[in-house]
Symmetry: D2
């Protein structure tokens, strides 16, 4: 039986399955700590998409097709969302927390990502989405401050208040399931300390107001406690602590992070594997970014910048492996700059200069200028992650979801394992897991597996034997 046939069967299976257990039938709460540029662009766009007022471009779950094999070369491969059971846009209910009181319409207007024209028909629906009071701590985010914050005695109290928020939101909105996606600001860099070493130490720390416990960690803790998958769109330390990994596994809750892979880093993880594949050397990679949104303002604080920089710098080494290829990458200078530059607003721009060398050491240069839009690139990833985290949860997965590495600048690896940064390798990981979750057999008929070459001609590829 070919893969197409298997996939078709899996579609049938899935439908049976889901109609039986009803898992995708109900409403799914999508809860965002942080209703800023990314959060509101995601929500407004998702609402527009379900009303046919805009297309969810950039979302693999909405537009992507499942790579299939060679059995029926001319068949149109099915959309991912027709193969694996995903919540429908119509079933999503949006909510969140923010330190500002602005409702989602006001916040979207302030963010200045989507035009007023675009937002006009969505105004009423967006105004109805009002932020719950945030758990906030100025020690972790220094350049902004706002009034819509919870008062609490201990960090444990704060966590419990969040659990109550989640439960109340689900009850009020008739939601069967929920997912949380951190879309709040970048926090200052936090080292791993004893308080993060075990769930026990962590809970003691919550009760004792330990300085090393950040708001992101409190939100993560609360979601896991409420049995809700948690995704981290920011580079903030949270789920990459032994304490919270332990907790997620214990509570059977899936999670993934950190830091959405959008502009320059996305380009790096597309380009660098190609350069490495061709055995071209790299003597330097200079990256500069200019951005002028609130995220840029927060990153103007050195503490927050350090968190982001760490996240951005790690990428190249894991792709180029200078340890294995010292002749090519042993003397590579990698520099990353982020400059707050208000004229740009959300329309971030990256400029990369890559000094490469080839045959006999002759130097060449690649320059990449990416005029992107930060939140436009991030929003579809939030949608995908919410739906895929929910899928994982429904399929009984728990703990760290490495197959979601595709979405992150600093994908979380499991202990003792390596991180995969190369985009096309991450794509393979993603599709392999999707096929598992879709009940399709992962084994393949052909030596070079056309089934997992989604953007190439899917007709049978021959090998001489």
């Amino acid at each position: 039986m070919g893969i197409n046939a298997r996939l078709e069967r899996s579609i049938v299976n899935r439908q049976a399955d889901y109609s039986t257990n009803g898992k995708t039938g109900g409403k799914l709460a999508v809860l965002l700590p942080g209703l800023g540029a990314v959060g509101t662009t995601f929500i407004a766009g998702a609402i527009a998409a379900r009303r046919g007022l805009g297309a969810p471009i950039g979302s693999l779950t909405q537009l992507g097709r499942m790579p299939v094999s060679a059995d029926a070369p001319d068949a149109m491969p099915p959309r991912i969302k027709d193969v694996v059971g995903l919540a429908e846009l119509d079933d999503l209910v949006f909510g969140g927390w923010d330190i500002f009181e602005d409702n989602c319409y006001e916040a979207a207007c302030n963010a200045g990502v989507l035009t007023r024209d675009f937002l006009a028909p969505l105004q009423e629906e967006l105004e109805a989405i009002r932020p719950m009071k945030a758990v906030f701590d100025p020690a972790f985010v220094r350049n902004i401050t706002g009034p819509n914050v919870k008062k609490y005695k201990t960090k444990m109290d704060a966590a419990e208040a969040l659990v109550a928020d989640i439960e109340r939101f689900m009850a009020q909105n008739g939601c069967a399931r929920a997912v949380g996606v951190w879309c709040g600001s970048t926090e200052v860099f936090v080292d791993v300390e004893p308080v993060h070493a075990s769930l026990k130490a962590f809970e003691a720390g919550l009760r004792g107001n330990d300085d090393a416990i950040s708001p992101t960690m409190i939100y993560a803790y609360a979601h896991i406690k409420a049995g809700v998958p948690f995704i981290n769109s920011a580079p903030n330390r949270a789920l990459n602590t032994p304490a919270l990994v332990e907790m997620a596994e214990q509570y059977g809750v899936p999670f993934a992070g950190h830091d959405l892979k959008t502009g320059q880093t996305l380009m790096k993880t597309i380009l660098a594997p190609g350069i490495a594949s061709r055995q071209l050397g790299v003597s330097g990679w200079y990256s500069t970014n200019i951005l002028g949104n609130r995220d840029g303002l927060v990153l103007d604080d050195p503490g927050s910048f350090k968190t982001k920089e760490e996240s951005k710098l790690s990428v190249l080494d894991s792709i180029f492996r200078p340890d294995q290829n010292p002749q090519l990458y042993g003397d590579m200078h990698h520099k990353v700059r982020i400059d707050y530059y208000p004229p740009r607003g959300d329309a971030k721009e990256g400029w990369d200069n890559i000094d490469i060398f080839g045959w006999m050491g002759y130097p060449m240069q690649i320059k990449v200028n990416f005029l992107c839009r930060d939140s436009i690139l991030a929003a579809p990833l939030v949608l995908d992650l919410a739906l895929l985290a929910d899928l994982a949860q429904r399929k009984g997965q728990s703990g760290n979801q490495t197959w979601l590495s595709y979405y992150f600048k600093s994908p979380q690896a499991d202990p003792g394992e390596g991180v995969v940064h190369a985009l096309m390798a991450q794509e393979r990981m993603l599709f392999t897991q999707l096929r598992i979750l879709a009940d399709a057999d992962v084994s393949v008929d052909h030596p070079w597996d056309p089934a997992i070459l989604p953007n190439t001609d899917s007709r049978e590829l021959r090998s001489d034997r």
Copy 2:
């Protein structure tokens, strides 16, 4: 038994094997029709490399490592050439044909790719390499002309003279085996005509001096007749005719083509799959190239340009599949310009402007400026292709080698099959075949096959089941 173990066994096997049948023991003739910029950069560099005067950067066969699995996470993966049996640089003997009488040193100096400084210690060895008389036809290359050409009555006579050249060269240099790599100029665009439909028609055409038979085809015919694998570095029509495919299969000779994938097209097939993977739309892709070498002069002739343009334009559609994704790529404007611009010499430059769109249709731009060196990028591919074609030949492969698609702008597909353009997908095809030729078992232990993620951390990757 893990893959590392299997690979180790295969190394042993191979050595036994080859010491037994002596196949890699002898000299390998590398014969180039066309000793211009690419040809001499390849030869001079290969000689420098074997004398330790330069590094063969850019060559997968010399520097690349075999992707291995998770059995020994910290083991250094072996070099490809230690796993599959490849001819050593020391065993190569270089020769070729050209319409100019310049020896290889003079030709390299004229090409102006490698500096005089670099060439100085190689002068004597390069001077000894003198071009055999070429089979040339000004109807196919209009902007240049030269004195070192064969006189012949019929094109069949020309082919036979080439067969004699090959045999004489091998005998005089004590070569056990040979490979041919076309490094001659880009010829004018040729349509497939009845004369190309079968070997019989083609041989009649050779005898009858059919106008639709180009020099490249004559060289290809001669090599196959001599039992020598033939690679086409140019976009010229030759092996992509039914006649020559039939012949290669009948004679049991492997071949591959067309048009080395070096500058802008290389970048396209690295970048475009990433854009497609992320479901970002493309409204336009504008590519312009400036180059000032002799190849540029030849391409200034509209006939030759058409051949090159066809080769460059096909790439994007096969990656983006507008048929499957009309919303994203149905209205994409793709334009390719090549301008002869003498100030640049061989230091070609490409500028790409890519108009993409994301979430809710918002437009963004990517600009790539590649200051490359044409022949520096091409030379290591010539080396790889020579060695891999020889490997295929020794391993009993014949006909079109689709697994070498990795190296070409217009990879030749087998009848009824699709072309794979995405670089990382081509890399998978290449490694899969290398593992087959290395006698390593292609099945893998882990769902997402770390064995074929060569540029990522090879330590075990976990999947939740």
Copy 3:
């Protein structure tokens, strides 16, 4: 008496003067043959500016200041329009001709330069501006065709119909004066022929329907006949024929042309003089343009492209003077590309690669990427030219106005004289003439004339004597 004092006197003089002769008091008709992207962007913006809904950025007559001397270092230099008597925005009445029947609001919407949001409050006023029937000839513009055209037997009839249009428009709108600014399409390249040699020959040609007489020439003829200054925003041949120069001088009417200097050519004439000043050599200058508006579509016709290319290519030689500096510019390769690329609309983009060389011949590169907006750059120039042509007319100037070279890609020189392309030199010409027209004495007190360094500190500059 210092320059400031003199300027102040001239302001007084001017006001007296104009109140006496009433010249600036009345309405000024601004008549545009061609109500496309440039024409409607100009009109809509001028209307918005006078209603305080937008700023006329880019217009020297509205925002520029008169450079003044050192008498009062800290005084704010006066605005140009306060020194030389210019018609006020409030006094302008807009009209024109086009081959399409769209009113100005529809045409502006179609052009897609200004947003609907911006145009909304102007809708009614713009709708009232309806094109008169055009004099059109498909032999001169091949890629477009439209219904709103005059029927005529001879080209002289056509010209007379235009004169009647002008007079009717002025009468109906109570206009004391008028100016015409060609904003129609680029026509095919026309050689100078005997019919253009004298007014007599030209008028015979009009009566005899001579093929070498284009619509632009007919409009120019009609305006001059009506005593109305005529400006040519396009590269079309018209006023640069002996016949029309003779006519303008005879009728006492000022004119200027050709081809507004906006994007890439503007940058060239800013950059090149700096490179030349520093005695840096240039081995090549490669310019490519992508644009997707209707003008781009017209330029996709080789005939129209040739007209534009001629206009663009002449610039560098006159700045670099390879005849005087053969060592630096004798071997310069200058190439200009314009590619029609629909994704861009009016948001044209230029990419320039400049290969320069310095001390001991070492090569360097400058790359300029200009993401401009064609009509946004052109509109303020139309406004300036209309007002300055009217000024010249009122001040009794006639014939070719070389001091307006500042505004053109191909400024028209007088017979036997050279063309000035360098922007800052053109600026000097403009300001010198403005000072003459303002009745300020042109002589200066200081060796390096701070009065004509408008963008530098105007305080006294010292010279050692």
Copy 4:
């Protein structure tokens, strides 16, 4: 009498003059504190040029032509050095000081600017140029240290030792005259303090080893004391102190500074005046530089960077005058980055992103990527400045030479006067002064003075009166 005639007479005059006073007849010592990249590139190139082994491209004194008027439109304008009396390359004798003992050949090899090939024929002559012991103070340059330094008790002793060095060098080499050009490292930023307020305070400070007196100041003091003009190629504070200005005027010695205008700042002062002239607004100007030479290493120290940054930031405001044009430049964000990036060596690269806005506020972008060579751009300026400072001295000029602003990033203004940054305005200042020094009458015949439009057609330009 036209200007050409006048210039010819001045050539005669000059020759008479100089043959009489013999001033240009003798040898001119060119003394450089700092024999690094710039210093050795200048010396090696000047020697190559006088031996016909290289062209002094980029040097106005060697290649530039004197702008002439309209009397003889087709005459070739004379070279500057044929009009004003300049020392010949043959008459220059090179010397200097450095903290390293390397002779000029070794230092040039280390700098890596000129190739070994280029330096080979100059080796002997360059080896003979050995640095005198430097006056050095690690408090002012933190990232480097060297052995070839003077020991001294007070800074006055150090200054006197330098005076003795200068006199000894001139005597030993038979030099009639000398000039000094600081080519040493960038020092840390120094505020103006009481010790810099008068010559008296300064000399007391030298005797008392005042901390605020830097090596550059000591060299400047010593040169002036020796009656030798002093030029400052670096941004280091020295001549821009009341004390040293007072001294130079008292001793009758000309000087000029600071900081050679080469890469990005050169481009800014070419581009910005054009943007300002066109009344285009600027919302942001982001400049980043990557460079990897020793100068870059020194600038990696925050103290030295501050000195450079101050020098680079001042430029735009003086050109755009936000005080006069708040609507256009009142909210401009200007950011300058310099990053030490070793892969580049001396081949510095600048990337500028300029956010502009035009008609009705619509935004556009200009991006400039300058792949320059730092010392290649600087060397010809050192030559020009040495020759022109000597000219000024011979012509009896003293004190600050503002007409040399053309060469500097931070031109020194006289007290109470403004700084001119716009390159073409600086060019006018330079030529005006050259005409004064050439005894040609500065008055001009024509309203817009073709005589001072050196890069345009010099034929008569007409004005309608």
